[in-house]
């Protein structure tokens, strides 16, 4: 109950900070599909204003990426530069979280329960995290230089609301794209629009957990 509450609080704070700055705001709905037209979840759509760098207000409380049932949750997390992330361990077994990605390298040795420290993501880019014990554990943190972003749900839709009018570069990223798909677009005040983005996905190379031993065999 607690982390859910915290995440919701962070999202609220995020919206709260951007809302007053926008005098006239529009919204964009991005639909992410694969070439066959199937919706793509866990894609991060972000709008980078082309005129001037937007002002970023990271949340006061750290964002949480928990470890539960020997998996990271959520699998994809989008944050703005300057956000702190906590890695609480909700399992009975220890984990050993690490990142070797350029925007943020870190290593939290074997631990259980709350992470000993929160990690500050101060540079934009994609950070992939793993666990030194469990090969199948991985997650992605997309660190963005813009407050206008959203993650696609299972329907492939990501809704970006209250985006000030202006010209933006739309960037769609997904763990399995070779390079982010980008395009420029104008957002009118009170305008609404739908951007359909087709992404070509590479094979899913995540390590799958082995089924529990003892199964099979001739009975």
């Amino acid at each position: 109950m607690k982390p859910v509450l915290l995440t919701a609080l962070a999202a609220l704070l995020c919206c709260a900070t951007t809302l007053p700055a926008a005098t006239a705001a529009g919204s964009v709905r991005v639909e992410v599909n694969d070439p066959k037209g199937a919706p793509v979840a866990d894609a991060v759509a972000s709008l980078m204003p082309l005129a001037a760098a937007p002002e970023l207000t990271p949340p006061a409380e750290p964002v949480q990426i928990s470890q539960q049932d020997e998996e990271f949750s959520p699998y994809v997390t989008a944050i703005v530069v300057g956000t702190r992330v906590d890695f609480p361990n909700r399992d009975k077994v220890q984990h050993h979280v690490y990142s070797l990605s350029k925007p943020k390298r870190f290593d939290i040795p074997l631990y259980k329960g709350e992470s000993p420290e929160s990690v500050l993501f101060d540079r934009p880019g994609v950070v992939t995290i793993g666990c030194n014990l469990h090969d199948w554990m991985s997650a992605h943190i997309v660190v963005l230089g813009t407050p206008y972003f959203a993650k696609s749900g299972s329907d492939g839709r990501a809704s970006l609301a209250t985006v000030p009018a202006g010209r933006y570069r739309l960037e769609v990223w997904h763990p399995r794209v070779a390079a982010p798909v980008t395009r420029e677009l104008d957002i009118a005040a009170s305008g609404t629009g739908t951007q359909v983005v087709s992404v070509t996905l590479r094979p899913d190379r995540r390590i799958r957990r082995a089924p529990e031993s003892g199964a099979g065999g001739y009975k």
Partner: protein
């Protein structure tokens, strides 16, 4: 179609068929046995090869797992977990990563004391298994000590290997294992030439198999305790050869691998050949039958022809020719047959002539003993008969009429002589010389001669009545009979021989005959005392002594008797 068995052809056919059938069956039997032996050999070789292949696959996979285990066991996080508080759940969760990396089926962490620290399998293996494994690894003096073996986890058989987790000393042991399961058995089968594998536990339960379930159960049930020999095992309605290998579980439970291949399956191509062989055998049997039948006919037909001709010959037909013409032994036999027929015909002709010229008895003796110039002394009764007054008769008759009359007379006389067992020795003009007791000995020769003489007298009376009816004068006869030892034999030259007797006794008989002309004797028949003595006291006659007469050339006078039938008795 089926010939009679007592015929030569049937016997030949039977012989042929038996010989060919025996040969064909022997061939078939030898081929079938060779095929069987060869199939067995091939299967045995395949089974041994499969057993070797299995051992190698397990060995290679163990080596691979051992190398992998040695590598992953160096993972610093793993080492720190081992070196730390040894949190079993965390270690187990990390072992799952190792299991994934090595594509193993189970991963265990074992303490230096042989105690199980963690396992990816919810069911723990028997302590004995892991303890033994690490004990053996611990005895390995190499820097990378290892050991492997079979072990059951939750009833499933695994091949397990051990590698050390070092930091830098050996802190614990990492055990990786792979399951001996149906997919593994299936992969192994694909590597061998279709050999079926069944892994059986020490309680005869099937662990893994490539066979259908009932067959696998049959194999498991028959799995022996200490196996290394290829055995025959009926599976379903087929026979399989089974080779069993023990999978050593150390001091814990063993398992075994039964490798098998269907003998019937292997024999299937050979069986097809054997069937073809049977068809060929039947065909050659049929050909042999036809050939032998033809041959038998070629052989038996002339034989039957000869046999038929034999019957013709036996019936006395020498004229019908034997038409058999062949160049082989049968041809020569036919030729000999023809020669024989000619010989028989010749002999018959000779016999015919003999019968006409000499008495049948003499002819028989001639044919039997040959016409030798031999001689023997024997007692013979000689009968001389002469026509009285023949000279006067011959003057009054034409020669032809005379001969006819003479022959008529001789015919009647001869008939009576022969009827009484006498033999006509010769005709001397109108005289007859007959023998009794020669050439065939007769004990009653003398009485036969007397009876013959009386019969001749009677016959002449009959003839005279005929002649009287014809208006001719009657004939008179004189008969002399004497019994004496004479020399009998074939008398004459090589070109012409006569069976006859010579000696005094013959002259005496002739003399007695001539004595009948004397009116004072008043008899037609005169017999010597020797004849009467030889005849004993013949019934029906009345000898009348005529006294003694001197015979020319004989010192002693001969006592003679007139022979006539008892008055009133007609002979």
């Amino acid at each position: 179609m089926i010939p009679r068995l007592h015929s030569f052809g049937a016997k030949l056919l039977l012989l042929f068929v038996l010989v060919v059938a025996a040969a064909q069956f022997a061939t078939w039997f030898i081929v079938a046995r060779a095929n069987h032996a060869q199939a067995r050999d091939l299967i045995e070789r395949d089974l041994q090869a499969a057993a070797t292949a299995f051992a190698r696959v397990v060995e290679d996979r163990n080596a691979l797992l051992a190398a992998g285990a040695a590598t992953v066991a160096r993972d610093p996080v793993f080492i720190s977990l081992i070196a730390g508080e040894q949190d079993a759940a965390t270690i187990a969760s990390m072992l799952r990563s190792f299991q994934l990396r090595m594509a193993a089926d189970v991963a265990l962490a074992v303490g230096l004391d042989g105690r199980l620290l963690a396992s990816t399998h919810p069911a723990a293996p028997a302590d004995e298994i892991v303890r033994q494994l690490v004990e053996r690894a611990d005895q390995d003096p190499s820097p990378n000590p290892t050991a492997n073996g079979y072990g059951y986890i939750d009833g499933v058989l695994y091949s397990l290997v051990v590698a050390p987790a070092r930091g830098p000393d050996i802190l614990a042991w990492l055990v990786l294992g792979f399951r001996i399961d149906p997919p593994f058995a299936q992969r192994l089968k694909e590597q061998t030439s279709g050999i079926d594998l069944t892994f059986v536990d020490d309680r005869h339960h099937v662990l893994a198999t490539t066979l259908a379930e009932p067959a696998a159960r049959a194999v498991a049930a028959a799995s022996p305790a200490a196996p290394d020999r290829v055995r025959e095992l009926p599976i379903g309605d087929e026979t399989a050869l089974v080779l069993t290998r023990l999978l050593d579980g150390g001091a814990t439970r063993h398992a075994s691998l039964a490798l098998q291949y269907s003998l019937d399956e292997k024999l299937r191509p050979a069986r097809a050949t054997e069937r073809t062989l049977l068809v060929v055998a039947s065909g050659s049997l049929l050909v042999a039958m036809l050939l032998s039948r033809g041959f038998a006919r070629r052989l038996s037909r002339p034989i039957e022809q000869l046999a038929a001709h034999t019957r013709v010959i036996a019936a006395g037909d020498y004229e019908t020719p034997l038409t058999l013409r062949r160049s082989d032994e049968l041809g020569r036999l036919a030729e000999a047959f023809r020669t024989m027929t000619t010989g028989l015909a010749e002999r018959d002709r000779v016999r015919d002539l003999l019968d006409k010229n000499v008495s049948p008895e003499v002819a028989t003796q001639l044919l039997r003993e040959g016409a030798a110039l031999g001689g023997e002394e024997r007692e013979v009764t000689i009968l001389f008969a002469d026509l009285r007054g023949f000279t006067t008769l011959s003057e009054n008759l034409a020669p032809r009429e005379l001969l006819t009359l003479l022959n008529r007379y001789l015919e009647r006389m001869s008939a009576e002589i022969e009827r009484h067992g006498g033999v006509i020795d010769k005709f001397i003009g109108d005289a007859i010389m007959a023998l009794f007791g020669a050439p065939v000995t007769q004990s009653d020769a003398a009485s036969r001669a007397i009876a013959a003489a009386l019969a001749m007298e009677g016959a002449l009376a009959g003839l005279n009545r005929e002649l009287g009816a014809e208006g001719r004068p009657p004939l008179a006869i004189g008969i002399g009979i004497n019994t004496a030892r004479v020399v009998a034999g074939n008398i004459g030259s090589h070109r012409r021989l006569n069976y006859s007797v010579i000696g005094d006794g013959v002259n005496v008989a002739a003399r007695l005959q001539s004595l009948t002309r004397h009116p004072e004797h008043a008899t037609n028949i005169i017999a010597s005392a020797a004849t009467l003595a030889a005849a004993g006291a013949p019934a029906g006659i009345a000898p009348r002594p005529l006294g003694r007469v001197t015979v020319k050339g004989r010192a002693e006078p001969v006592e003679i008797f007139a022979i006539s039938p008892l008055s009133g008795v007609e002979v």
